[in-house]
Amino acid sequence: MRDLPEGVSDRLAAEALIVDVDGYEGPLDLLLTLSRAQKVDLRRISVLELAEQYLAFVERAKLLRIELAADYLVMAAWLAFLKSRLLLPPDPAERGPSAEDMADHLAWQLERLQAMRDRAAALMARDQKGRDVFPRGEPEAVIQHRRSVYSASLIDLMRAYARLRTKDEFRPFVMDREHVFTMEQALERMREMLGYLGEWGDLHDWLPSGWDTHPMRRRSATASHFAAVLEMAKRGQIDLRQGQTFGPIQIRKKE
């Protein structure tokens, strides 16, 4: 259990609660803080006592004309209801969950939130990369040799020929929007790729597959991706370099 000093600091804390409503992340956070005053394990907490403390808090806030957010008031109403259920003898005719079940659940929620806070603190206290342990500072680049192998089957060949010999010369006029890769698309795509841009790599290698063979599609994809990486460089997300005029444009993720 947390060791809070007795007396004065307790009263100060209680007063601070009144003034500093903004310091709490919602009613559950406030309830967890209030529960500490009971100085018992969260498993043995008195929900009735907690409900009374919370309701007293809300009352005092009202006296001081502090505007409480709706969710604090919802919690207050629910705790008032729970309190009355806990104090009255159970009504055998009434359906729904028992007051004890509701109280148990609230205690469990508080215990779970406290457990997550403890785990979060423990996690941040671990040896962290870039703070306590370090990766290689000067990683060596791996040279990639790209080679393309084209495949086609006999059936593809025969179908192609069959299609040619029965070709319908007529083609209705349509806009060929399918060959256009917009900058928005490119930006969206490169943003997803960001995690993979560790080392320097040619922008050309990052063009989407299916957009790198056909000239029109390649031009459109190249232009949109170029514009996209300029934008990303401007935002400080990546580095760009070009060894010489008309040389390949290389990109990598900014450290």
């Binding site: 992340e25 009613p27 939130l113 997550m116 423990a122 040896d127 990369k129 342990v133 370090f134 990766p135």
Partner: protein, 204 residues
């Protein structure tokens, strides 16, 4: 054509040493094996390498199914100058990260239920952008909500071998604190969204 003789284990260890040294990111056994001569056994080579570096200034650490060299934590004081100032995470972000790690796969509604407040869009965005969390599979419940899980970068960041090695995971589970319990008629969930607890069972 006869099969080439695979290199000795010592040679293989040297190769793995060179490759892991050259890479800042952890490398998987498949990735290592793909670059090594036919007949190599990267798993054995990594194990031998790891033993060799025990107690040294750098160590071979495991990150999920991959391996990397990292400096020994007790020498952190020497590297303080290399520390990259990272953005300070808000308390909301830290708690959300812990909840994703311990409850994964977890939906946004579930995170909100545990914290008792709405999760702001920026919090999840920040964690996604840092690549500490990512989207998991959608829940097979009404609305098919997305789930969040932690990434390999997260494990790398906090020096965890696997997500199962999270400290205190077993205790939390035994204490029932990782269960999802439906609220018995309380104001348990914000915005009245029902926790979709059964999902974990139907999915896995």
């Amino acid at each position: 054509m006869t099969a080439p003789i695979p290199p000795t284990l010592d040679e293989q260890e040297r190769m793995v040493e060179a490759m892991l040294f050259a890479s800042a990111a952890p490398m998987g056994l498949a990735e290592l094996g793909a670059r090594m001569p036919v007949g190599s056994d990267p798993a054995r080579a990594v194990a031998a390498l790891q033993r060799r570096y025990e107690g040294r200034g750098v160590r071979v650490v495991r990150v999920n199914e991959a391996w990397a060299f990292r400096t020994a934590p007790d020498l952190a004081f020497l590297m303080q100058r290399d520390v990259v100032e990272t953005r300070r995470l808000s308390r909301a972000a830290i708690e959300t990260l812990a909840i994703v790690a311990y409850h994964q796969p977890v939906t946004r509604a579930e995170i909100e239920e545990i914290r008792g407040v709405a999760v702001s869009r920026g919090t999840l965005d920040q964690l996604l952008e840092m690549e500490w969390i990512r989207l998991g599979r959608r829940r097979m419940t009404p609305g098919r909500p997305v789930t969040f899980i932690v990434t390999e970068q997260f494990l790398d960041q906090f020096g965890l071998e696997t997500a199962r090695d999270l400290p205190g995971l077993k205790e939390l589970r035994e204490a029932g604190l990782l269960d999802s319990r439906p609220a018995p008629g309380g104001p348990a969930t914000p915005e009245g969204e029902p926790p979709d607890d059964q999902a974990q069972w139907t999915e896995d």
